[in-house]
Amino acid sequence: MKAADAAPRNLPALLAALHEDERDAAVIVGGTPGGTIHLRQGRIVGVDTPGAPSAESTLLKSGRVEDSAWAMACAASGSGGNTLRDELRRRDLLTPEEFEIVCTAALFDGAFALALGSAAEWEVRGPSRPVVTARAFAPHLVTAETTRRLATITELWGSATELARTRIRTANTSPVRLLPRHTDILEAANGRRTPRDIAFALGRGTYAVMLDLSHLRALGLIEHDTPPLGRPSTAPRMPGPRTGTPSPAAPAPLPKRSPGARHPHRSDAV
């Protein structure tokens, strides 16, 4: 019996088994966000998930590659054995190195986003061809990096899954000198967007945005409420600034608030 046929206990175990068998496969992962992990000869070549921007999304949104030029390169690749990487180079749109960098960044960002969803169920299917792929990584490398990222966010912010559901808004503070990418985040943080939404809006990685948000929170430049636990509340919403459900005594420290800031808890007196 092949390793992958025995029911694996968790996703890393499944990926390890598929790696051992050198399988070409697409692993469909359930949860919020769910996604698809693409494997070639047991190694991860791409991760698609609504939780993190794809390589294509980051390239187009950041303005690195123009949309119509990208579409033409995609259409031309595949015919005559030309890969997308070759087409992008031939058309002077991206060097192979830069294409590889963007794909690698998106792959690890996608894996991180998948880890934020409760990946309780999965299904192994035949390989689907992801259009945008450059390098392949052994699953244990991806798992190790994902674990490191989760630990980093836990250290800098608190629960990473909670941060993923948190809607961020810019605090009303006097302007400080910031890097352009930090200013962009403050402009995008409108109180409706989660870190993932900001990442899509700016064409950056979800993890990178979370790191920058941690930095901006430390400077007191952003505000947020504790996100509601589980499904969103259907209780009547009061007009005005958003309210959050007080969480039960959690082991994680409560978000820090500057004096004079709005009280985070729902007030019955409103």
Binding site: G51, D197, F200, R231, P236, P239
Partner: protein, 129 residues
């Protein structure tokens, strides 16, 4: 905040949809003749979306009919970084969903029937003006 605040059960359903499905950024409910009913919007102009939704849906309906199809399900418009989905709540009202390019379409398909049913139930109480 530019959010339109109607103390309306309709807006609650719209907000729940935005919070439940990744990538949903803004939603608009309109009449089939293009009037704005309710909206959960941030940057877009709700009245314009309402008017365009009516036109889009009507055109797609005609197109589906012309092509021999019956029962139009939805109209999806994809651009490089946006998804726009127009669906009928009932034969008088439309729901328009605006999302980013990462919109969780699988989750949306799963959740949309409940949302449409909720909205239809609320709108059922409307009396002729």
């Amino acid at each position: 905040m530019p959010e339109i605040h109607q103390p309306e059960p309709l807006v609650e359903v719209l907000t729940a949809l935005r919070e439940g499905v990744m990538g949903v950024s803004e939603t608009v409910i309109s009449t089939v003749d293009g009037l704005l009913v309710a909206a959960d919007v941030d940057a877009v102009h709700a009245e314009s979306i309402a008017a365009l939704s009516a036109a889009t849906h009507s055109l797609a309906h005609r197109m589906a009919h012309e092509a021999g199809g019956t029962g139009l399900r939805d109209v999806t418009t994809r651009s490089a970084d946006r998804h726009v989905v127009v669906l009928a709540i009932n034969d008088r009202a439309l729901l328009t969903i605006l999302g980013d390019d990462g919109l969780d379409l699988i989750r949306l398909q799963h959740d949309i029937h409940t949302t449409l049913a909720h909205l239809a139930k609320i709108l059922k109480g409307d009396t002729p003006a």
